[in-house]
Symmetry: C2
Subunit: 148 residues, 2 copies
């Protein structure tokens, strides 16, 4: 299979599957989108709604409602900014942090299992290549603009 599209088609689907079966942690049933949101909140330093929505290239209204859900689940906390009262700053609750960490662990475990089918050299090459691909996509004008 020399065809790039073919490779990406399969890869996309597989990533979807990987992301799907990763997100049930201690009674919580987290959707893929929600796990991405938790991940980004965890990574950034008390970000605003806008920030995360833009990073994930999500519509702000959809994002707003997802956050409402996550707040109800007591995984995310919304704090009004003292600087700018329009802004809500996002952070993980203790529970949220726990869930995010758990997902991170299981995702890494999944990935380790996947990579165990490669030898050391291949593993390193693949990782390096994915980084290169990420960089290429970030430079691309046709897609993938956010997610710096």
């Amino acid at each position: 299979m020399e065809n790039k599209r073919e490779i990406f088609h399969v890869l996309t689907r597989r990533f979807g599957l990987l992301n799907k079966n990763c997100c049930s942690v201690g009674g919580f049933d987290i959707s893929t989108v929600q796990s991405h949101i938790l991940y980004e909140i965890d990574k950034q330093n008390t970000p605003s709604m806008q920030q995360i929505a833009e990073t994930l290239a999500m519509d702000i209204t959809t994002f707003s409602r997802q956050i409402q859900t996550l707040v109800k689940m007591e995984l995310v906390k919304k704090t009004p900014s003292s600087q700018d009262k329009r802004v809500s700053l996002l952070s993980l609750t203790t529970q949220g942090k726990f869930v995010a960490t758990s997902i991170d662990h299981s995702m890494n475990a999944y990935l380790d299992e996947v990579f165990s089918h490669l030898n050391e050299f291949e593993r390193e090459t693949v990782i390096r290549s994915l980084q290169l691909l990420n960089e290429a996509m970030s430079k691309s004008s046709v897609c993938c603009t956010p997610l710096y």
Copy 2:
């Protein structure tokens, strides 16, 4: 970023974006899922519903309805099998074939643009690595089982 999860998180999101902005062809507005369905029908030889649904790891009921939509759009044709009257064989209409081909072209163009940010050596390494990754995922027990 040595963290595998980080890499996959970003890559997953970027793939999502790439897949999203690829699918408006001549008046038709194709969703990502639908483009994947068209792709697989085109690839396989008059497959059954089950076959495609399984390949794409989709719930058969969801799939059934997606096919109904695609049939209404006159992109897909459903032919009852003469061998087994329970089975519906899927094929692309002329229009469907055209749409599938157009999407394929534009996806490849997007990918070419992305890869243009790499040099020849990197390009080949990355492609080869993605193939390796696909193989590793196909061997994995934790995910990605269909999509042989």
